[in-house]
């Protein structure tokens, strides 16, 4: 006996069949208001960073010692810093570096960490031992020192910041992904795939990875602010972005010396970091829900 198929109107049956993963995901994402606000903010920021020279009437590097630490006015919307440079303009220019430094190394360490974590957790044994001891070494070594060594030996430029941050960041991602993989490995659907003779690489790519994605999104949104702050630490120590170049981390670090005369110099770039992080968090939440088949209505 086969189950009675409930009679459905023809158009409903058509609709069932037409489901497409990509379209469903985009639709679910667009329904999430907060995620859309976050996306809009990030897009605005990117546009602002790219078109900064046309948007702002000020030069971010021009020193005007007679205009030091001015309060907010109609000319300087957020005031000026200790060299008389417009704070808002420097934030816009700083976004160029901070956004890239926030996103690119996070993506790199996420990619390396995911690969290492899944391999380590799924294959186990010797692979697991080697990868995890490597990760232990990375975590045990003072990360700031490690990043500084990289910057000193390779030189202070943007590419080397990426390398340094990815080197520091992959280990903790690998740890989290490994533990997820270990839990997934015991699930019956993995056993079903193995009983079938599904190749190990296929099991890892098609069964483990999609189930790790929600965790990766959370890790990614957490990694962005961390990377921005790391960049500021490196810049502050003189091995990151070099002044007069602007990055948000550097603006906060330099600006906090004038906290009492002109708080906006430090607080404005701090708020920029905060808002960006929030925006990415909203996007991440929206993405996570949109990618989860069981969250769709």
């Amino acid at each position: 006996m086969t189950s009675p198929s409930a009679p459905l109107p023809a158009d409903a049956i058509e609709a069932l069949e037409e489901a497409s993963f990509l379209r469903d995901t985009v639709r679910a994402f667009r329904k999430n208001r907060m995620a859309m606000v976050g996306l809009a903010f990030v897009l605005l920021l990117v546009l602002g960073a790219v078109f900064a020279p046309w948007i702002s009437p000020h030069d971010p590097y021009r020193v005007a010692l007679d205009e030091q630490l001015l309060p907010a006015s109609t000319t300087y919307w957020l005031g000026t810093d200790n060299f008389g440079r417009d704070v808002l303009t420097r934030i816009l220019y700083g976004a160029r570096i901070s956004l890239v430094v926030g996103i690119v190394p996070s993506l790199i360490s996420l990619m390396i960490g995911t690969m290492m974590g899944i391999l380590s957790g799924y294959l186990g044994g010797r692979t697991d031992f080697v990868v995890m001891r490597l990760a232990d070494m990375m975590i045990a070594f003072p990360s700031l020192l490690l990043a500084m060594v990289v910057m000193y030996t390779l030189g202070a430029n943007l590419l080397n910041i990426f390398i340094a941050l990815a080197l520091v960041g992959w280990a903790s991602v690998a740890r989290v992904v490994r533990s997820q993989t270990l839990a997934l490995r015991e699930k019956e659907f993995i056993e079903a795939a193995r009983a079938n003779g599904t190749a190990r690489i296929t099991v890892m790519l098609r069964h483990i990875f999609p189930n790790v994605v929600p965790t990766l999104i959370v890790l990614f949104t957490l990694a962005i602010p961390e990377a921005i702050m790391w960049e500021s630490s490196l810049s502050f120590l003189g091995v990151g972005v070099q002044p007069p170049e602007a990055s948000w981390g550097l603006l906060v670090a330099k600006g906090k010396e004038y906290m009492f005369q002109a708080p906006a110099v430090a607080i404005a770039p701090g708020v920029a970091i905060l808002l960006t992080v929030l925006a990415f968090n909203f996007i991440g939440d929206g993405l996570r829900d949109a990618l989860d088949p069981s969250m769709k209505d």
Binding site: S3, E17, E18, K187, E188, N196, T198, R206, P210
Partner: protein, 337 residues
């Protein structure tokens, strides 16, 4: 007579156990999950395997497809010993032996569509197939197991338990196996849904000439579907017989105790029924009793049972017991507590 589809000889599975904090040179303790099980299975036949939880039913099934390491022989079609194959050689046979799992939802990847799930064995074993062909086959199979082919793009969580088990069955049958191993396929389902799934399985078995190994702890489910039934206790066979013989005239005291525990859906008959109580717990498989493993709970145990391991004797209705035969009322009262 042609060779049976599967001929299992002296199958043994043991696991090495290390306690946390054991020194590296301490020898691991052995847990004997399956100790010397023999059976044969003809094409199209159903063998039911019953026993308490922890008796090695599932381990036995997993050993056959090299999911757990085992020793002994499992001869496929009189030619190949499945247990001696390398993983690469085994791959060929995985299409012939498919498995249906206990938890319908957990055995389906939550992030794959039904179509992708059912098609996966095809993608492993028939790489040449184009995606249009795969889709046609998947839809035909969905129809065959009683699912709407139009639901091909839905996700597992959108289906009920019974429907999920149908998806699991479709995934197993899409590569046209000769043997289907069902590991408690209905124990997670409602009784009414159980009947539907079992009827589906028997229909499919008849149409596709499938052999089945049907594992369950529910004796009435096994009775309905099996040609022969094997009773396991602590990794050893206690009794094997054709289903009507085993249910009609159980010889082993353990089988009798199991059968007496099955409720009868008639209050009057249920009150009249004599239940054989089994005292104590299942002994640890790390330290099984000497001689007959069942003797610690057997109402008929005698000195000989502790000294000599009873062999499986009796031809078509085989029993591993020194003193087989129906229990008397007087013996039942003597059951060790």
């Amino acid at each position: 007579m042609t060779a049976p589809l599967l001929d299992v000889r002296d199958l043994r599975v043991s696991f090495e156990l290390r306690r946390a904090g054991d020194l590296p040179w301490t020898p691991p303790r052995l847990l004997h999950a399956v100790s010397g099980v023999d059976f044969t299975l003809a094409a199209g036949e159903t063998l039911g395997i019953v026993g308490e939880s922890g008796c090695g039913k599932s381990t036995l099934a997993r050993a056959l497809i090299q999911m757990v390491p085992a020793t002994g022989k499992a001869i496929w079609r009189g030619e190949t010993d499945l247990l001696s194959l390398s993983p690469r050689e085994m791959l060929k046979y995985r299409a012939d032996i498919q498995m249906v799992f206990q938890d319908p939802l957990a055995s389906l990847n939550p992030r794959m569509t039904v179509g992708q799930i059912i098609a996966e064995p095809l993608r492993t074993h028939h790489r040449g197939l184009g995606s249009a062909e795969v889709k046609t086959k998947v839809k035909a199979m969905m129809d065959r197991v009683g699912l709407l082919p139009n639901q091909i793009n839905r996700y597992p969580h959108e289906f009920s338990g019974g429907q999920c088990q149908r998806i699991g069955i479709a995934r197993a049958l899409i590569v046209e196996p000769r043997l289907l191993i069902c590991d408690e396929p209905v124990s997670a389902l409602d009784v009414s849904i159980q009947a539907q799934v079992i009827n589906l399985l028997t229909d499919l078995q008849r149409d596709l000439d499938l052999a089945m190994i049907f594992i369950a702890h529910d004796l009435s489910v096994v009775k309905h579907i099996s040609d022969r039934v094997m009773v396991l206790y602590l990794g050893r066979t206690m009794e094997v017989a054709a289903s009507p013989d085993l249910y009609g005239a159980p010889q082993h005291p353990y089988t009798q105790a199991l059968l007496s525990a099955v409720p009868i859906p008639d209050p009057a008959a249920e009150r009249e029924k004599v239940v054989i109580p089994l005292g104590g717990d299942l002994p640890s498989p790390m330290n099984p009793p000497s001689g007959c493993v069942f003797r610690t709970r057997c109402p008929r145990a005698q000195a000989r049972c502790g000294e000599e391991v009873p062999g499986l004797a009796g031809g078509d209705h085989a029993t591993a017991c020194h003193f087989p035969g129906p229990l008397e009322m007087a013996e039942i009262d003597r059951t060790p507590a």
